[in-house]
């Protein structure tokens, strides 16, 4: 068993993200810290937030966020600080400024456009006159009803 335990020491990689010793004693602050970490990207991982990541750098960033919170920063101040250090790439929820306007308004804009087109289409269908052998005239309908014995 000796080699086995040696193996485990060598392979002592962190198994999960937030470690017990990182947790702040004030539950309110801790909750804010968790919320903030979920919106921050782990820079060395591929598309993971720092709250879920077990990378060393994510841990540093988590501790940084908590440090700022303990010193009394507001959520915005913490985010601004992190962005000033690492750039806006770190934000999982991008800012609304500049070209990101497109990102934020593309969805609602497309919904309005689609509703408009859909509405116009429905109106043309509602106003169109039935054509071809598919539909029956009023007389034919009446006769059909007679035949069906209704």
């Amino acid at each position: 068993m000796k080699w086995l335990s040696l193996f485990f020491i060598l392979w002592a990689l962190p198994a999960f993200a937030v470690q017990p010793n990182e947790v702040l004693s004030d539950p309110k602050l801790e909750e804010r810290a968790r919320d903030l970490s979920q919106g921050l990207r782990c820079l060395v991982c591929r598309n993971e937030n720092i709250d879920d990541s077990n990378a060393e750098l994510a841990r540093d960033l988590r501790l940084l966020v908590r440090e700022r919170l303990v010193e009394g920063d507001t959520d915005e101040e913490v985010l601004d600080f992190v962005v000033s250090r690492y750039g806006e790439y770190v934000l999982l929820n991008p800012t609304k400024g500049g070209s990101n306007v497109i990102l934020y308004y593309a969805g609602p804009g497309m919904l309005l456009l689609a509703l408009l087109i859909g509405g116009l289409y429905l109106r043309t269908r509602a106003r169109a006159t039935p054509e071809g052998s598919n539909s029956l005239s009023d007389d034919e309908t009446k006769r059909l009803k007679q035949i069906m014995g209704e």
């Binding site: 962190p14 937030n49 879920d52 070209s99 990102l103």
Partner: protein, 656 residues
């Protein structure tokens, strides 16, 4: 030798695929029956050749032939047999071969079951399918050959990524590909109909089962992937809005839209043009998914063989097929005039709303996924779009969809009265509001997400029940229900499944509880009314891994419910750790325990979650798949497949 056989079969398949693309198209144009019939023999031959090729690769994995480079890179003699086999598609090259296999399988199936199709249409469908096969066979042969050899052969392999050595993920890719690639069938139907110059009700009926089948597989595939992420990644997340996940979710959303719009084509001969466009776009998004996953152009959690050269090839395939189909569409859009006339309030209108909401939601996922790329290309801003953005942008559309669904599902065709439908649904609505209000009252000071989600879930389930109960005309309820067509059951079950999933997601996100702490042997703590006791942690050796295993007792009050064994594994050959969470699964909640590192002062780090309604998320997905399967087994499709419903199309009437 066997590997060479597989390689040879693939090359032969490539040649046959080119022939099956060209010959039937010429035959259909010239009305030469022999040339048209070649599409059937050709599609079968193509399938057999691909099976041979895939079989050869599987054989190499099973016998651990490490002279094949791919086997060496992704397998190991100590690996359990199941994962040797699933290792075939646990890598880029093998998974592309699986993709080709499924392409040819669908082609062959269309030739087996497509007896009711007009010969020209059938020949064209198989030819278009073969053209897609040609492109992907070329991709495999020229950029991702799985049969490359190594000389000298290594003694043992590098092992499959341990995260993939799991039953949930082992079967995730085949289902996903059956879905992705199944949409190629809808694409082939659309393009063939455009070449034919004819889209009618029969076309709508023919294309629906294929779309439905693809959608069922896609649902199962996505569900498996999400379930796997939940129990394997160690913190119980089930959806991350990662580019690769989005790549599978966009085709899913569009397939749902396509399923519904094809109903309008079938029943009312309207929305034809849109349905054709949707069929083209849905498959294009499958191709986009392949491109996103394999080009590495967008960073994703799922590190999966990224190579720019392959990316360019896939982009080319996507460009040629999407672009070609859209040009054809533009040229032929005029032949698809709508016939049906219907009022503003009708089933048709409701399905239009369904399509608007689903297409817009797919667009939102698309823009969010691609924005980091666009932003860097056009505005030189390197940024991320992650979970918070997607949740905020996507959720409102789904809430809208959930709100209108029960009403729309019960509206009559042609012309309806909203008031009358609302009257039928009033009991269900009151029930749903009561559920929402109850949970609103019970929870204290949290977001409205939970109650709203449960309201929507209850509303959808009650709406489906109302729909079923109001169907049929006379007679006793039980008798009536027994005689309902399976498609009606399928619709109700699938819609209720959506409700279950919505309730699950909302419940889990709103009321989850988490606990992180250091536990020493014999210590205990409480979470959400449960008590957790750590009995000990020991080291265990598995077949190809080493494990640190915790022994935890879960108590409800003083009653022992379960013994949980969370593990932390290390796979020495692949050099990777994995976490194996221990989950006590329940109908209303999961208790989820993860073991972490040994702590300096003694004890182990533990992370414990109380996850309410977690299983409803996948339960709902299973219900949706069952609903789809019920619809698929409906008699009408079998009738449609057996009998020729439009005799006039058997003679040359195409608008050439």
């Amino acid at each position: 030798m066997v590997a060479e056989l597989g390689h040879f079969a693939l090359i032969l398949g490539f040649v046959v695929a080119i022939l099956v693309t060209i010959v039937p198209l010429v035959g259909a144009y010239m009305r030469w029956p022999g040339w048209m019939r070649f599409s059937e023999t050709g599609s079968n031959a193509l399938f057999l050749l691909t099976v041979t090729s895939f079989g050869a690769l599987t054989y190499a994995f099973v016998v651990s032939d490490f002279s094949v480079k791919l086997v060496w890179m992704n397998s190991h003699t100590a690996k359990p047999m199941l994962y040797k086999i699933t290792g075939v598609w646990g890598n880029h090259e093998g998974s592309m071969l699986l993709w080709v296999l499924i392409l040819t399988l669908f082609g062959a199936m269309a030739s087996w079951f497509g007896n009711g199709l007009p010969p020209t249409l059938k020949a064209r469908i198989l030819a278009v399918q073969a053209s897609i096969t040609t492109a992907f066979m070329a991709f495999v042969l020229f950029t991702s050959n799985p049969f490359l050899r190594l000389d000298p052969a290594p003694l043992n392999g590098k092992d499959l990524n341990p995260l993939l050595q799991d039953p949930g993920l082992a079967f995730h890719p085949p289902f996903l590909y059956l879905g992705y690639v199944g949409l190629s069938m809808a694409f082939s139907f659309a393009v063939a109909a455009l070449i034919e110059g004819r889209v009618d009700a029969a076309w709508g009926r023919w294309v629906r089962p294929w779309t439905l089948a693809a959608w069922i597989f896609l649902t199962i595939g996505i569900g498996l992937g999400s379930w796997w992420a939940y129990y394997e990644l160690g913190w119980g997340g089930f959806w991350f809005w990662d580019p690769v996940e989005n790549a599978s979710f966009m085709p899913w959303l569009l397939a749902v839209a396509l399923l519904h719009s094809a109903i309008v084509v079938e029943k009312r001969e309207s929305l034809k043009s849109w349905t054709i466009l949707l069929a083209i776009i849905a498959f294009s998004f499958s191709l986009l998914g392949a491109f996103i996953t394999r080009s590495g152009i967008i960073t994703s959690v799922h590190a999966f063989a990224t190579d720019p050269e392959r990316g360019v090839f896939l982009l080319l395939i996507m460009g040629v097929f999407t672009g070609g189909a859209l040009v054809l569409y533009a040229a032929r859009a005029s032949v698809m005039e709508a016939k049906g006339v219907f009022g503003m309030v009708s089933r048709e209108s409701a399905l239009v709303v369904n399509n608007i909401l689903l297409a817009v939601s797919a667009f939102i996922v698309f823009i969010g996924t691609m924005w980091p790329l666009f932003s860097e290309m056009f505005f030189d801003r390197k940024l991320s779009v992650g979970e918070p953005w997607f949740n905020a942008a996507f959720t409102p559309i789904m809430v809208l969809l959930g709100l209108v669904l029960p009403l729309g599902a019960m509206l009559p065709w042609k012309r309806g009265k909203l008031g009358r439908v609302a009257l039928k649904l009033r009991v269900g609505f009151v029930f749903a509001v009561a559920i929402g209000a109850l949970f609103w009252a019970v929870q204290t000071g949290r977001s409205s997400l939970g109650p709203v989600g449960l309201f929507l879930g209850a509303w959808l389930i009650a709406g489906s029940a109302t729909d079923i109960l109001s169907r049929g005309r006379k007679g006793e309820v039980l008798n009536r229900l027994r005689n309902l067509p399976r498609a009606d059951w399928g619709k109700a079950v699938a819609h209720a499944g959506l409700g279950v999933t919505m309730a699950g997601i909302a419940g889990l996100i709103a009321w989850e509880q988490e606990d992180i702490r250091v536990l020493k042997n014999g210590e205990q703590f409480d979470i959400a009314g449960y008590t957790i006791v750590l009995n000990g942690v020991e080291e265990v050796q598995g077949p190809n891994y080493l494990s640190t295993m915790g022994d935890v007792t879960l108590l409800n009050g003083t009653r022992e419910i379960a013994t949980l064994n969370p593990e932390k594994r290390v796979y020495p050959v692949a050099g990777m750790p994995t976490t194996e969470a221990a989950i006590d699964i329940g109908f209303f909640r999961d208790v989820y325990v993860v073991v972490g590192d040994a702590q300096v002062g003694g004890g182990w780090a533990f992370r414990t979650y109380y996850k309410p309604l977690a299983n409803w998320i996948w339960g709902g997905a299973i219900l949706m798949a069952i609903g789809g399967a019920l619809s698929l087994s409906d008699r009408r499709y079998r009738v449609a497949a057996g009998a020729r419903r439009t005799p006039s199309t058997t003679v040359g009437v195409a608008a050439e």
